[in-house]
């Protein structure tokens, strides 16, 4: 709060002295993630453009839905997962983005959509306890499923997002065919059957990034799925955990503008600013999530050493399966109900 206030005052002063006018309210998920965004993107961009930035935390697209449906929109920019932004866009809750204003010519083409422009790239990986398996842990989803080669307890995601693709790959489906197989109830059932097979060894179905990081840190499970940045942070705190990018799911977080945002035009200008390479190249300093703007690798800020650890580095990206937003838009509700059925059996 205090920081927000000072930032607002500072930015307002700057604005009144020279540069562009206006203000935007940005909502993200708080914690170390928003801290990283704030230091790398929001604060420097506010300083350079003179746009006053007010930061808030929010509970995801359900908040946007409530604001839009009641006509009381207070947020100008929201950080979101790519899948929920795609669904919110399809529901008419978001403004289409103006890519004449936001320059995405250096973006990975898959890391933006009509309603949401990519902010960072992360991976859903399998992570393992290095005390249990050493550095050479599982190297594929088939290994994750192999309880004879890698005996020990597992944790797995408690909701459907990012949970079916690994199961199919473990069942022998090549990564490029995964979404094709998943595009029918039989295909989803096939993935669920594979999870049923592993279920006796799944101790916990996790529901948040903080939870899967804690499970590994406390040694509660020997292996889990989860988001790579969380494991790096846990390892920094002394957790015995590492992960692999092989067959991981490449996904991204993005920024969207709620329909009827009070400062829509300023928000568009602000998004254009924070999408530039000069801001994105600072993000990996604070969290191991990669830039969505390819040019951010060329500014010299991201060293080759750091780049090699990021989900979006060309070598790592080549190992992974990019999440299909089209599949989630079409199948997520059906798949989620079927997943719940599997969980409650």
């Amino acid at each position: 709060m205090k920081r927000t206030a000072t930032l607002t005052v500072m930015a307002t002063l700057l604005a009144s002295t020279a540069m562009a006018e206006g203000e935007v309210t940005v909502a993200s998920w708080g914690g170390s993630y928003q801290d990283a965004q704030s230091k790398a993107l929001f604060e420097p961009a506010a300083e350079n453009t003179g746009i006053a930035v007010k930061q808030e935390t929010y509970g995801g697209m359900s908040d946007v839905r409530l604001q839009v449906s009641t006509g009381q929109v207070t947020l100008d920019i929201v950080a979101s997962g790519s899948g929920s932004a795609a669904r919110a866009g399809a529901e008419g809750l978001l403004e289409p983005l103006d890519y004449d204003v936001i320059d995405v010519s250096d973006f990975y083409p898959t890391l933006k959509s009509t309603y949401c422009v990519g902010g960072d790239v992360f991976s859903t990986v399998y992570a393992w306890n290095t005390d249990t398996y050493g550095e050479d842990g599982p190297q594929s989803w088939a290994d994750f499923w192999d309880v004879e080669k890698f005996p020990g307890s597992r944790a797995y995601r408690g909701s459907v997002a990012g949970a079916l693709e690994p199961a199919l790959m473990a069942d022998g489906v090549p990564p490029e065919d995964v979404y094709e197989v998943l595009s029918s109830e039989e295909g989803i059932e096939r993935a669920l059957d594979k999870i049923r097979e592993l279920r006796p060894n799944i101790d916990v179905f996790w529901s948040s990034g903080a939870q899967h990081a804690q499970l590994m840190k406390d040694g509660e499970v020997d292996m889990t799925t989860g988001w790579n940045g969380r494991f790096d942070n846990a390892a920094k705190d002394g957790a015995k955990v590492t992960y692999s990018y092989n067959q991981a799911l490449l996904d991204y977080d993005c920024f969207a503008i709620p329909k009827g945002a009070p400062n829509k035009d300023t928000a568009m200008a602000f998004l254009a600013e924070i999408s530039k390479a000069e801001y994105q190249d600072d993000l990996p300093k604070y969290i191991t999530y990669g830039p969505t703007n390819k040019a951010a690798y060329d500014t010299g800020v991201i060293t080759a050493e750091v780049a090699a650890t990021l989900p979006s580095s060309p070598e790592n990206a080549a190992l992974q399966l990019p999440i299909s937003l089209e599949w989630y838009a079409e199948w997520e509700t059906v798949a989620a109900e079927m997943y719940q059925e599997m969980l409650t059996e």
Partner: protein, 296 residues
């Protein structure tokens, strides 16, 4: 004389009675208005929204989904199972504890009461996570037990039904102990002496005299625990390891998943109706007016 004056008097009484009833109604109206605004209107709104489909028109799809998908039945089953078990365990632990407290001298009883209330005033979230720290594989309980040689391998006490029940019983216990303790303190001790004076074995005196007198407090406490359990969210979410899924958790995921509030509202409506049915059945066996602490 008397026979004639009675009808005259009765008419006056009737009028007075009517005025009294009207004025009582008038006095009660602010409270009734409050109930209307904070209870009847929102619940009515919930019913209304639950019949709204994805496109905003009238639809039964939210209820049909609950019939078509087996997971909903299982989630309601889990919810009632957890609530019944928690209530049962609370009675088994809470009743003897309340009895013990009621036998203590006043000063010690007050200290015991404070120890019961103390966790009651601590945040539910903090207590839930505290159980996680205690019960997990590398947690305090397992580490101590293994170093003391009580068992060899860590026992799974959390991320399952066991952990959920431990957490919920701990949180719910004061809700049972307080009314039971209250009704035990209100029992005249001479009744037990009279029973043994008449030759009753202590066990018979307890079951025939003492226990029936504690029934109002026990039924009030047990129903309160049961109904509060039905809406639990945090404790099963944290201690159940994603395997104990209760209705409140499904309500949250439906708000995230479906494009309308109706899918979540319908779950709320079904839970409300089922709770009312249980209350109605309970009211046939128990004196429900005692729940509010009335009657004494």
């Amino acid at each position: 004389m008397q026979a004639q004056s009675e009808p005259l008097n009765a008419a006056g009484l009737r009028r007075d009675g009517l005025i009294e009833r009207l004025s009582l109604f008038g006095l009660a109206s602010p409270a009734m208005l409050l109930i209307l605004v904070i209870l009847v209107v929102p619940v009515g709104w919930l019913f209304y929204v639950s019949f709204m489909g994805a496109d905003g028109s009238f639809s039964l799809e939210n209820y049909e989904r609950m019939i078509d998908r087996k997971s909903y039945r299982r989630i309601f089953g889990t919810t009632f199972q957890v609530s019944f078990l928690t209530t049962g365990l609370c009675i088994m632990i809470g009743y003897p504890l309340a009895y013990f407290m009621s036998q203590l001298p006043d000063r010690l009883a007050n200290i015991a009461l404070i120890t019961v209330l103390l966790p009651f005033w601590t945040s539910l979230l903090v207590r839930t996570y505290a159980w996680l720290v205690l019960l997990q594989k590398q947690g305090l309980v397992n580490n101590w037990a293994i170093s003391l040689g009580l068992w060899e391998e860590p026992i799974k006490m959390v991320h399952n039904m066991t952990g959920t029940l431990i957490g919920m019983v701990h949180i719910m216990l004061p809700f049972l102990i307080l009314p039971v303790y209250g009704s035990m303190r209100a029992i005249n001790r001479d009744l037990m002496k009279a029973a043994s004076n008449l030759g009753a074995h202590p066990r018979r005196a307890f079951w025939d005299v003492f226990f029936p007198l504690t029934m109002p407090g026990l039924s009030a406490g047990a129903l309160m625990v049961f109904i509060l359990c039905l809406g639990f969210f945090v404790t099963p979410a944290v201690l159940g390891g994603g395997k104990v899924i209760m209705v409140s958790m499904k309500i949250v995921s439906n708000i995230e998943l479906f494009v309308n509030w109706g899918a979540a509202s319908a779950l709320g409506v079904v839970l409300l109706v089922m709770t009312m049915i249980i209350l109605w059945i309970a009211s046939r066996f128990l004196k429900l007016e005692n729940i509010a602490g009335g009657g004494h």
